[in-house]
């Protein structure tokens, strides 16, 4: 009896973790996700801005999946900030994420006052998406255009690791 409860708990906790992984945090204000760009970190954090309707963004997403596998045993975290509009959260973003697994944490940023927060990510960012920001103890690295291959992404992550 105790054993089956234990197994049941195990299964529940397992599915709980899984559900957590799929969770999308919707943020109305940039300030709610600003912590992602804090420089005092001890690991590498890969943050990608994208949208379901941005062709070059979607095309490079598989590279991040590959990277999460390649760097699975190293201190590399992933976060995705979707710029899908508020009225696309249910209709586009959630179905997309159900079909396409992305590593790490999922955010959907609805802060439309772009000019107020683009420079907070980086003054070097023009505002074009996709963009990938790699935070590490060494600082902030920007990839301001889409990756042509997974190797390009691996290289940047490796550079931030060593």
């Amino acid at each position: 009896m105790a054993r089956s409860i234990f197994i049941l708990l195990l299964i529940c906790s397992g599915s709980f973790v899984k559900a957590q992984e799929q969770k999308v945090v919707a943020a109305s204000k940039f300030e709610e996700i600003e912590f992602l760009f804090k420089t005092e970190i001890d690991s590498v954090h890969v943050i990608n801005f994208w949208a379901t309707w941005c062709g070059p963004c979607v095309a490079e997403l598989p590279y991040f999946m590959e990277a999460s596998e390649t760097f699975a045993n190293q201190a590399v975290k992933f976060s995705f900030v979707s710029m899908d509009f508020k009225n696309q959260y249910e209709s586009k973003l959630l179905p997309f994420l159900k079909k396409n697994q992305l590593p790490g944490n999922q955010f959907n940023l609805w802060d439309m006052d772009y000019n107020a927060w683009i420079d907070k990510v980086s003054p070097a960012w023009s505002g074009a998406i996709p963009i990938t920001v790699i935070m590490s103890p060494k600082g902030k690295l920007l990839a301001t255009s889409s990756f042509e291959s997974s190797e390009e992404l691996f290289e940047l992550i490796a550079k931030s690791l060593d």
């Binding site: 070059p56 505002g127 074009a128």
Partner: protein, 202 residues
Amino acid sequence: MKKNFVIFLFLGFIGLVFSSFVGEGLNVGDTAPDFKLKNIDGQMMSLSNIDDVNGYIVVFTCNTCPFSVKYEDRIIEANKKYAPMGYPVVAINPNDANRRPGDSFAEMKVRAKDKGFDFPYLHDATQEVAIAYGATHTPHVYLLDKDRKVQYIGAIDNNANDVADADEFYLSDAISALKAGEKPSPDFTKALGCTIKWKATN
């Protein structure tokens, strides 16, 4: 004499390399270069071809970028409102049609007809104008005065999704400032947009 000419050429070359690779482009206060691009009516067109203006609303945009599509009606409105005041819209599509077939010259004509564009929609086939201006994404607005001096660079307003939710109207405010003989403030804003689809360089 000949030596001077070589040096001049060399400096010019350095300048060209600098502007195309560093991508400096234009800043507010710079004089924007004129250009000669093919309009959707098949005619070559320059800013100097437009008579009796107080300035130009040059907007880099395209058919395919969702941000551009969101702003299409607002660009049409801007021309209806500001062209009679001497600030016509001049739209330029800088995307490489090989990478984005929906931005080909033929597709531009279709889009302009469907939406009833009553302003030039020019094809920057070599992307030289986008490079010279320093455009990075679509839509990307450059407001010039009649001397082609850059007075404002950036977004049209602060809500791409819905104009009804916007509460900053950067472009309108900038034009109002110019009309009042003042400097626009802000004169530079940033907005999300689609990366210009540059030609493969090698």
